[in-house]
């Protein structure tokens, strides 16, 4: 037996109730002051064993786990060596536990207000659910209106109901709900603090229109002489005036001036909109405003955008007007779109007779041009587009080139088969190698892998099912929130299966495509899940804090600021104070740790040159004891 060990027991399922009882009984019978469990990763069952120890009257922080599964048996093939390593890991844990000190968790407050970043369907649904539970919630949306991508869609699969018809009631509800504050045309600039008590600084960009005065009548838009701004809502397929309301159902229904396009703001001359505005809402002198607010929880709902299709120039997207992306087609098909919902090709406004769809444009591509993942929604929206076109214009031939058709989801495969079987959409298994223009005719060269032949088709329009990627703001926001992101800029979950709507950073939650590609039904369910997690947090009056935090020994601290610089949570600050060093009094600059902010990462203890910084529960002494146990 190791020095200090008075009782050892082997049991197959220590995490079971019977196993926990063995620990509890041993603590009581032998008067144990520390417990080491040699088992799976502490990420699995540390909480289980600590709880069991606490029930037996032992301080839960007197329990140590030696991870002999993930760190040992699962990764070593040689059984004897593995067993030897397991023994070493056990010795290290025993050496550590003898130096453990009882720790007590502290408490911190919970600000009962939530922040939702992003006002698409994900953000709206999350906010509505939080608001319904009675908590105030702010939606910060970078665009002039909420609604996001869903507002741009014409119809939704698999039911084919009109996207705005089902979205706008939710937008209206978000505006009407007294627990929800909409902060549109705004971006979060700074976030500090921690779970339960975040502080955010929000920049409300100047609209040059008084939001509470504008009636949304639209006269300014019709009179504005600058009409060359690309209409973002219509994916740049047509133009809009410099002063504009993004779309008819926009919320808030308030105009905004595009300062890059406005003649008055650029040259000082014009001012026509101000003259025609009967409400007197135009204010060319408006400045950006800042809102500072405290929040208990923050939800990221930053959404997505399609990738730039010109990266795949074999499809001639940048040179041929009639090669469009699916989102552009969505606008062409929409009654409020640039063609009033009539299917007309962009180059000459003529009715197309043959349309080729190309799936997986940039998805499942590890060449670096595209994205390695499946964008998940393209198979279904392509089936939708193909079906709608065949339904409305039976004279149009529709071909779809695909690698796989992926339609997991309720009634999804049936939907796609309906396109192929009832609407006679020609699905061709194979990819397209090139799209080019020949004597004014678009030509598509692809392959049919079933009949094993190259296919050359004349097309009047080509539609690219472009991959989707996280909105570029996601990275910035994630950095601000210290939420981790993966190599594709999707926000990482705390656990991919068991905690899918939480970020590993406490108090940060995920909603919608910022976490990974998903369709509307999935987004709405995830939004609700994120809301329920937020509600669970805001319903608490106090949070218990992790007692394994850093602390500085004032007598040893030399005031060098190394720890302050490396701390990723801004938990360390410096204070000049009178230090009594064994009777010698002097005024020195010393490090102070804010225990509420400290996450116990230990970076400060590593950089501290004087050894003043130490981590409770993982003290330098304990770590060295573990190293000694392993090496000596």
């Amino acid at each position: 037996m190791q020095p200090g060990v008075v009782f050892a027991q082997d049991y197959q399922y220590m995490c079971s109730e019977a196993g926990q009882n063995i620990i509890k009984d041993a603590i009581k019978t032998h008067g144990l002051t520390g417990v080491v469990v040699c088992s799976c990763s502490p990420r699995m069952h540390e909480a289980t064993f600590r709880k069991a120890a606490a029930q037996a009257g032992l301080n839960p922080f007197m329990v140590e786990i030696a991870n002999i599964r993930e760190h040992c048996s699962w990764i070593h093939k040689d059984k004897e060596e593995g067993t030897e390593k397991a023994c070493v890991l056990m010795r290290a844990a025993v050496a550590k536990v003898t130096l453990n000190a009882p720790l007590k968790a502290g408490e911190s407050k919970v600000v009962k207000r939530a922040l939702v970043i992003g006002g698409g369907i994900a953000g709206i649904q999350t906010a509505l659910d939080i608001a319904d539970a009675g908590f105030p919630v702010d939606i910060v949306e970078k665009n002039a209106t909420i609604g996001g991508r869903m507002a741009q869609l014409d119809k939704t699969f698999p039911t084919l109901d009109c996207s705005s018809c089902i979205l706008t009631p939710k937008m209206v509800e978000a505006k009407a709900n007294e627990n929800i504050r909409l902060i549109t045309y705004a971006e979060v600039e700074e976030v500090s603090g921690f779970v339960g008590s975040f502080k955010a600084k929000i920049r409300k960009k100047a609209r040059f229109v008084k939001e509470d005065v504008c009636t949304g009548c639209g006269v300014c838009m019709s009179k504005c002489p600058s009409k060359k701004g690309l209409n973002e809502f219509n994916m740049g397929l047509n133009n809009r005036s410099a002063i504009y309301i993004p779309f008819a159902q926009a919320i808030p229904n308030v105009a905004v001036i595009d300062k890059e396009q406005c003649i008055k703001l650029k040259t000082g001359k014009c001012g026509l909109c101000q003259k025609v505005c009967t409400a007197g809402a135009i204010d060319y002198t408006q400045q950006d405003e800042f809102i500072e607010e405290e929040y208990g929880a923050i939800v990221m709902a930053t959404g997505f955008r399609p990738i730039d299709a010109s990266k795949f120039d074999e499809y001639s997207y940048s040179t041929c007007k009639d090669v469009v992306t699916s989102l552009e087609l969505e606008r062409i098909m929409n009654a409020a779109g640039p063609t009033g919902g009539v299917l007309l090709r962009p180059s000459d406004g003529k009715h197309p007779h043959s349309i080729v769809f190309i799936q997986c444009v940039g998805s499942r591509d590890v060449s670096g041009r595209g994205k390695p993942y499946c964008s998940k929604i393209c198979c279904m929206y392509t089936a939708k587009h193909a079906m709608l076109i065949r339904d409305k214009y039976p004279d149009v031939e529709v071909h779809v080139f695909y690698i796989d058709v992926r339609t997991p989801g309720k009634n999804f495969d049936e939907f796609y088969r309906r396109a192929a079987e009832q609407y006679d959409v020609d699905y061709i298994k194979g990819q397209v190698g090139k799209v080019y223009e020949e004597n004014g005719q678009l030509v598509v060269r692809g392959v049919d892998l079933i009949s094993n032949e190259q296919i050359v088709l004349n097309a009047d329009m080509v539609v690219l099912a472009t991959a989707i990627e996280p909105d570029p703001t996601a990275r910035k926001v994630a950095n601000m929130l210290t939420a981790s992101i993966d190599t594709n800029d999707f926000i990482t979950e705390a656990h991919p299966k068991l905690r899918p709507v939480e970020s590993p950073t406490a108090g940060i939650f995920l909603s919608g495509v910022c976490q990974g590609p998903k369709d509307i039904p999935e987004t709405v369910s995830q939004a609700g899940a994120a809301a329920s997690k937020v509600i669970g947090l805001l319903a608490k009056d106090k949070l218990t804090t992790n007692p394994c935090v850093a602390h500085s020994d004032e007598l040893l601290c030399n005031g060098c600021s190394c720890c302050e610089k490396v701390c990723p949570y801004s938990a360390i600050s410096y204070e000049t104070k009178l230090i009594n060093d064994h009777g010698v009094k002097e005024t020195r600059r010393v490090a102070m740790v804010n225990e509420a902010l400290c996450q116990g990462c230990g970076a400060c203890t590593v950089v501290c040159p004087s050894g003043a910084m130490d981590l409770k529960g993982f003290s330098n002494k304990q770590i060295m004891a573990e190293v000694d146990a392993i090496c000596l």
Binding site: V405, R417, A420, E421, D424, D426, Y427, I450, S451, N452
Partner: protein
């Protein structure tokens, strides 16, 4: 009047009674076909080519008679496409072209002398269609 390839394909669909659009290109028919190695085109290719209106090559292919008409592909197709019926229809049209649709039991000995290995099932299914 000469029929276009598309029209012939439409005729194949009509004769076979098979809805080739139902095919989801899983390959179960070819995976299950006992005559796979003997046929230049395989059941899934018959379905795909007929769907695309490409029947000329199928009509010219002598190995189309190698289909045993065992109907394993019909039994196992998850979408109810009935590939064997498509093969049979192609075979029928090929025979019609060659023999001017005058196939009768009396012709069997001649057929056998042309190709002694012609499967029994091919003859039986031919009788079924052309005993008038």
């Amino acid at each position: 009047m000469q029929m276009s390839e598309k029209d012939v394909a439409a005729l194949v669909k009509e004769i076979s009674g098979s809805d080739v659009k139902k095919c989801m290109k899983c390959g179960k028919c070819s995976a299950t076909c006992p005559a796979y190695g003997e046929m230049r085109f395989h059941p899934h290719q018959f379905v795909a080519m007929v769907a695309r209106g490409r029947v000329e090559e199928l009509l010219k292919d002598p190995t189309v008679t190698r289909c045993l008409s065992c109907f394993a592909c019909v039994e196992r197709c998850p979408r109810g496409v009935e590939p064997a019926n498509v093969v049979a229809a192609i075979r029928v049209l090929a025979e019609r072209e060659q023999e001017g649709n005058n196939f009768s039991p009396a012709d069997v000995p001649k057929l056998l002398s042309q190709d002694p290995e012609i499967p029994q099932q091919a003859l039986v299914s031919a009788f079924r269609k052309y005993r008038k």
